[in-house]
Amino acid sequence: MKSALRAYLLLTPALLVLGALFLGGFAPSFLQSFGYFPAVGMTEPTLSFYREVFGGREFLPSLLFSLRIAFLSSAGAVVFGALLALLLLRTGRGEKIEGALAAIPVIVPHTVAVLLVLNLLARTGLLARLLFASGFISSPDGMPSLVFDRGGLGVIAVYLWKGIPFAAAVVYVVLRNMNTRLWESATVLGASRFQAFRYVVLPLLLPSLSSTFVLLFGFSFGAFEAPFLIGPTFPRALPVAAYSAYIHPDPTFRPYSMVMVVVITFIAMLLVYLYSFFLAGEERAS
Amino acid sequence: MANLELRNISKSFSSKRRNAPETVLSHVSLVVPDGKIFCLLGPSGIGKSTLLKIVCGLLVPEEGDVLFDGESVLRVPVERRGAVLVFQDASLFPHLTVEENIAFGLKMRGASRGEQRQVAAEMLSLVEMEECARKLPGEISGGQKQRVALARALAVRPRILLLDEPFSSLDARLRRSMRAFMRALQRKTGITTLLVTHDWEEALQDSDILGLLFDGKLLQTGAPEDVFSNPVSPRAADFFGVRNYFDVEVRDGTLSSPFGSAPADAPDGRYLGMLRPDQIALLPDAGGAGSVLSAEYGGERIFYDIVPSFSANGCGWSRFRVAASLEGRLREGEKVSMSARCDTIRLFPAESDRREPRETESSYARDTQSEVEV
């Protein structure tokens, strides 16, 4: 079919990069996780590395930790982001300054965001100083540990700070393009503001909310910088554990790292599939 | 200028929803003589536009040939074919001024700035848009956009002009003036034109030759008067509005119908007879064979829906639609007698498909998809 050929011709540069570098970059990791690493003399595929990692005392806590912070931060981002979008829409200022300001976190990278959270939530951070000034605590020790803690609050804070504006932007666009006549029809039929939102607006928002949630979840699940810089030492987020195993001086240790990389990739690919599913739903809704 | 011929054009598209490909055009053949306007009439759908795209080269037919002046142009790429298509929404380039839009084709050909400017000026005066030369498409009205689109098409001196329902997005009054404008332009330039539309009145008024496209097939072509008065099938007849059908029997060279008898040059048998609303006359008659069900005021005429009492005689039709003058206006429920010149009854084979095409529109009355079927 001529149009199929034309399409693939247009896609060639992109597919070359994604095929060779993305897939081609994952392939060695995949093979190494099974112990196939000829460069250091390992040529026997084996499941032993998988068994050791899965059976180890760090894997499950790390996995659960990563899943937990990803879930909490993404859910929070979507909820508060939607709220922010609603506020921007209702005050009619979404386009201008407020919108631009709300977009600043998008420009700031995770590393800097970590610094911001540290400045704010650390034991001697701004929040602690404010609490001290208003008399709630009397010394830094009175401040609960919000960063480097086992709950990963610091990491969640970083992801929330980055995620809320992002979710707000997505929701804002959907809301703005939503046919206002739908809302008006509902209220004319007797729906209260809350009911109109719950039964008309929310269902239409759901595809975008779901896709954004999945996107944020996926991204924060596999992200490295925030948990590396501001996460607890136990349990470590899965990407951090994988990284530590990677930089181990003994190269025959590499497969341990690769097992974790494969697990991360596998879960991420599942989320990619889920995300594309929700994206299709979004398109159908619009 | 050229003579356009389509031979046996067939095209189907694979549909994402269904598994089988959808046949959009089926063995369509037609000829547009040099300098004439051919109107292709058909319900809204993709067949008509597909045909135009095949003529200009944007689509390739699965079967068949396209010939300009007797030479096949199938192998000639779009940009060199010389058949220009004007879309329904004018499709002006939003980032170029009116002048630049018109000169676009010349620029693509490498014409000098001077020539571009000159031809653009010529075209602008031809379509009476000189004052808008420097404006952007976003700043002019729908009718003006169409004029610019026509000018842009004519600027490249095409061999064939293709118009895809060019005025259907305009309001009624503007549409009328634009059509007159287009007809005058076509007469002046003598350009061979293929125009597609779903409006039968426009098709009758604007065409030198009229063709009826339904379900991918060309039902009938001919001069507008011929196609209107002598439709080749009920389906062809239904293109022009609601028609009245009833049983007719021919025996020994005579037809007998609910309206009477007349000599008929047809073999013995049962037929489907057809009369147009304007071919039936009504008279108030207490003992008449019909009664008025409803009356629709159409401005210059009134359309009555008549319930015949002779349906019990196996007529099979529950209503007749009759167009009458405003004099002697009948009331609902009034009994009437229906008469017609039986030699004007058009005969079709008895098993003909009587269903109307999905959309028949008229600017007078709403002859829309009424189920005039029992």
Binding site: A14, G25, R90 | F93, T97
Partner: protein, 269 residues
Amino acid sequence: MKTHSPFAPLLLFAFLTLLLLPVLVLLIWSVARSWPWPSLLPAAYSAAEWKSLFSASSRLVPVLLQSVLLAGGVTLLSLAASVPAAKALGLLSFPGKSVVEMLVLAPVIVPPLSYAPGMHLLFLRLGIADSFAGVLLAHLVPCLPYGIRILTNVFRALGDRLEMQARVLGASPAQAFLHVTLPLIAPGMASAGGLLFIVSLSQYLLTFFLGGGRIVTLSMVLLPLVKDGERAAAAVWSTLFIAVSLLFCLLMERAAKRCASSRDTFFLS
């Protein structure tokens, strides 16, 4: 849906303050010499960190240069690959489209950790490991999805009608693209460009794995500073990072506006 109650603007103000206060604090840290507990404002200010940044011995110039060249190059290459890909995905239908769409989507969620080590091995074999070119190529992976996603929407909104119109008027495919399509997608390209620049600039692990320490970008400098708790230095470099990103975004927005309003200049007038 606009409301006149004072509640909403207040809430909005609170929200925005929460989001932007940290940035303000950061800026203050960059000029704070000493900010001990429990003061709410620094005890002493100093421009020492900034002076050190702009001093001759600082790494500023090489790092900035490498970062901007890298991100700029990635942006250009990404756009070049994204435009045709977006056209295919936005306007054409073809077998395998959903698989391609998912592949294009994947790097947004799948972290660099998944493919960076393997890419390094690949590049070793190709001889471009630890090189600028290698890192440039590597950055394309996380950037392409964003470029393609944005431009696909642009193409979808544009439709193919105008290009078809150009073709029937006598434009070859190349002419139609150059004179009709390109001017009309230019604003979208500019917006995408801004985002691509930031995505590339923010990369750490990729540059780490594939740069071998030879390619030092702003991110490479920043992370160790934050890890080691060098508050003021980190604040200074962070401010620099944000400034560079903002500048580039503003430039792109300016370019986008210019593209949207101007007309084809090599035309009649």
